[in-house]
Amino acid sequence: MSAVLKVENLVRTFGGVKAVNGVSFEVMPGELKALIGPNGAGKSTCFNMLMGQLKPTSGKVYLNGKNITGKPPRAIWRRGVGRTFQITGTYQSMTVAENVQMALISHHRKVYSVLPYAYKLYRDEALALLDVVGMADQADRACAILAYGDLKRLELAIALANDPKLLLMDEPTAGMAPKERINLMQLTSDIVRDRGVSVLFTEHDMDVVFAHAHHIMVLNRGELIADGQAAEVRNNPQVQEVYLGGGTLYKQEIADA
């Protein structure tokens, strides 16, 4: 089976700082893969290069074998990559359903259409997507008054609008209560199972990562130090060094291993 996403030697520098330094990996179809690492490791930077928000200093990104390096986000989205952000960017002045409808309007290339009422377009499709994330009952509420956890679920529904082959989720559970986190990750892994999409996500909650991810990659100071299954990664001495040595995270989790 060939990889959905293939990254070769990705590098990005800011001034003199190497935020991402020669990262290579693959994501397989139907795979739920995690990218973890301490704060400032370069996870968001990496994501921004995959989706085109940032241009890599060097390196290549392939989607289904096609080179998409340096293409703008909207072009990459058209090729079937959905994305959620660490800081949500939903349309505050629209309702929940309209947020999804907006993505559907773009997907069906109706952005410049001037005749129909937008709020009526693709509403059923939008409701179906909202149903997937359990937000259908809030479809007609203004986005501005949603709880944070609901916003995150909404973002997921929006990201599914173009029927993506690959979903990139940057810290999907950041800022959520522990119980909500588990629910959201459960939801994500259901989506992976039911729709056959691949998901690459970053996360700092180890419980979430080890419970759901098929494979885990560890990024430290811009370099990938591990890429494998949960057990391998846990036992990787370099990884233990980073987490124990750095003292930042989850000694408990690693000690359990």
């Binding site: 703008p72 986000p73 989205w77 994305r83 629209m94 952005v111 509420r141 203004a142 609008a161």
Partner: protein
């Protein structure tokens, strides 16, 4: 050769005042991220205070002392403005601050009129520097040489202040990284006040120091502000060296322009600016502006829905009422309502990009006047039938918006605002100076509608149909996918880009649509009046539109129309008052600070509060 040198020296001397004002504006912007539109007014105050003081204080000491004192006084006035007008709106989006400072312009205009009268005042000449020096045979005023000598010291002084003092460190820190000021343990509001003092004082100095070359009059505030904008846009916002280089460039260019191509001096300035921005979008020394430096004020806009049965019935009744006007009222009221409808269409077209698109255009008059002139020129020169010429108005305005939009859309926030303003000034100066084609100040006359449309009542119905049609079209666009997409780009450009939307092209399209509909309003206007003059392209015209949208409510769909109808109705009465600018200015400032929701937004809130109107479904 001698002539050339003399010209160069005049240009350099003219640069002094321009640099002082521009560096003040730039400094204030760098630290507070506020574009002080009233900066030209501070310059004007500097000139008036200068004259008053020079008449009291004798001799050379009195002369130079007056200049310094004027600077200090104007600095203090700047502090008052900062504390009472701007402090309450620092966290608001640019638009609110720009409109607030525009209110200040109006207030200062009338206060100056009140204190110094309407007469232009001649500036006294500098004691000891009253004669001319011959350089290569050409006479050069001594005072010009003095100015040329002084300017580098001012630049040096500012440089020293910013590079070498603690205040300067704070200013630089704030300019580069707004978060850092807090980290340095400084009271941010005092830093802002201090910078406002300094920047305002520089404008006041500029006004006073140019007195022997110019004088003081009530138009100098708006006259200098567009030149100052050109200077800071070319030099780069927030950059003092940039302000210096650009002031010299523009002043020298102007002087040579006057001698060699007197018909296009003003145009030249804007062409240079456009060229610089093409190569360096943030000016010669500017930094890229980070989006979202300003937050949202208050609650976000609410979701929208097409009007329900009640709303539509109300509009239907209103339209029937308007259609009945010729049967019930005089010609005078038909003319008044024709004016009102045109103003409403113009405001609605601005609101489309301003509110729905978040694009703060400060030069929307270019498309209104541009459309009107396009039609008028066709009629005047080619005897095109009125019907065709009328259709040409929105077409030409739309094309103009496509061209200007291409430059402007790539920028955002205050850069966008200033660039749109500068482009509208470009059109204004073209029309104003190209006398042979446009008649300059004399305008174009005898532009009447065809036989079947002439007569007050007939044209009234024509305006009613076309104007209301345009307004309804705009309203529908807000609800159509294009309008939704535009709103999406405003709410979150990043999210829009990440879901396949080309933000720039969508905004550009909307800009063109708004331009075309402003042009439609301009077409209605020119045939209703039978003439067109350059004042329909002035800064004031663009501001009128901004202000009515603001009064009506930026965060509503109907704010522009309601605000324009309101303003146009009371204008006749208002402008008959002696100090109407003062009143209007204070009202604008009051609305910005106290009732930022405007008429429609406030009414909506009040009626929800007292239970006249149900809270909308989506707000529960």
């Amino acid at each position: 050769m001698g002539f050339f040198v003399a010209q160069l020296l005049t240009g350099l001397a003219n640069a002094a005042a321009l640099f002082l004002v521009a560096s003040g504006l730039s400094l204030i912007f760098g630290v507070t991220r506020i574009v002080n539109f009233a900066h030209g007014s501070l310059y004007m105050l500097g000139a008036y205070f200068g004259i008053t003081l020079m008449n009291i204080l004798p001799g050379a000491f009195g002369f130079w002392g007056s200049i310094v004192l004027s600077g200090l006084i104007v600095g203090l006035i700047g502090v008052i403005i900062e504390m009472f007008v701007l402090r309450p709106v620092y966290r608001a989006p640019e638009l609110f601050q720009l409109v607030a400072t525009f209110g200040v312009i109006l207030v200062i205009q009338d206060l100056a009129l009140l204190i110094w009268g309407a007469e232009d005042q001649l500036g006294p000449r500098a004691p000891g520097l009253k004669s001319v020096v011959r350089i290569l045979g050409e006479p050069v005023p001594q005072y010009d040489l003095a100015l040329i000598a002084i300017t580098p010291f001012i630049l040096l002084g500012l440089w020293w202040l910013i590079a070498k003092t603690r205040i300067g460190i704070l200013v630089r820190a704030a300019t580069q990284d707004r978060e850092m000021v807090g980290a340095l343990g400084v009271n941010q509001s005092w830093l802002f006040t201090g910078v406002f003092f300094l920047g305002s004082a520089l404008a006041g100095l500029g006004g006073a120091i140019q007195l022997p070359k110019g004088g003081a009059d009530l138009l100098m505030d708006l006259n200098i502000i567009s030149a100052v904008f050109v200077v800071v846009v070319i030099g780069g916002m927030g950059s003092i060296p940039g302000a210096f280089v650009a002031s010299v460039l523009i002043s020298v260019l102007n002087v040579f322009g006057v001698s060699y191509i007197p018909q296009s001096t003003l145009v030249l300035m804007y062409v240079v600016m456009a060229v610089v921005l093409l190569i360096r979008p943030y000016g010669l020394f500017g930094r890229e502006e980070k989006a979202g430096e300003h937050g949202q004020v208050g609650e976000p806009d609410r979701p929208i829905r097409p009007a329900g049965l009640v709303g539509r019935s109300f509009v239907a009744v209103l339209l029937i009422g308007l259609a009945a006007v010729p049967f019930l009222f005089s010609n005078f009221s038909q003319v008044l309502i024709t004016d009102i409808i045109i103003a409403c269409l113009f405001a609605a077209s601005l609101q489309f990009i301003l509110s729905t698109g978040g694009l703060v255009s400060f030069g929307h008059a270019a498309y209104f006047g541009g459309g009107a002139y396009a039609a008028a020129l066709l009629v005047s020169y080619t005897e095109t039938p009125m019907e065709l010429a009328f259709l040409f108005a929105p077409l030409a305005a739309g094309l103009l918006a496509i061209v200007f939009g291409w430059f402007c859309i790539r920028l955002s926030g205050v850069y966008f605002a200033m660039l749109t303003l500068a482009f509208s000034q470009l059109i204004w100066s073209l029309v104003f100076q190209w006398y042979d084609l446009t008649g300059g100040d004399d305008g174009l006359v005898n532009i009447w509608p065809s036989e079947w449309l002439s007569g007050t009542t007939t044209y009234y119905y024509f305006t009613l149909i076309v104007g209301v049609g345009g307004i309804i079209l705009l309203r529908h666009l807000n609800h159509a996918p294009l309008g939704y997409t535009l709103r999406a780009t405003r709410d979150s450009a990043r999210q829009a880009e990440a879901t396949g939307i080309n933000v720039n092209v969508v905004q550009w399209t909307a800009f063109a649509v708004a331009g075309a509909l402003a042009g439609l309003a301009g077409g209605l206007f020119v045939f209703s009046k039978g003439s067109i003059f350059p004042n329909e392209l002035e800064i004031g015209k663009s501001f009128d539109a901004l202000i009515v949208v603001f009064l009506g409510g930026v965060k509503t769909l109907s704010g522009g129309v309601v605000g324009a109808a309101f303003m146009e109705t009371i204008k006749d009465w208002l402008t008959r008052l002696e100090y109407w600018r003062l009143i209007l200015g204070l009202v604008i400032i009051g609305v910005v600070i106290i009732a930022p929701d405007g008429i429609v937004g406030s009414l909506r809130k009040v009626s929800e509060k007292i239970g006249l109107r149900r809270t909308e479904e989506f707000m529960k």
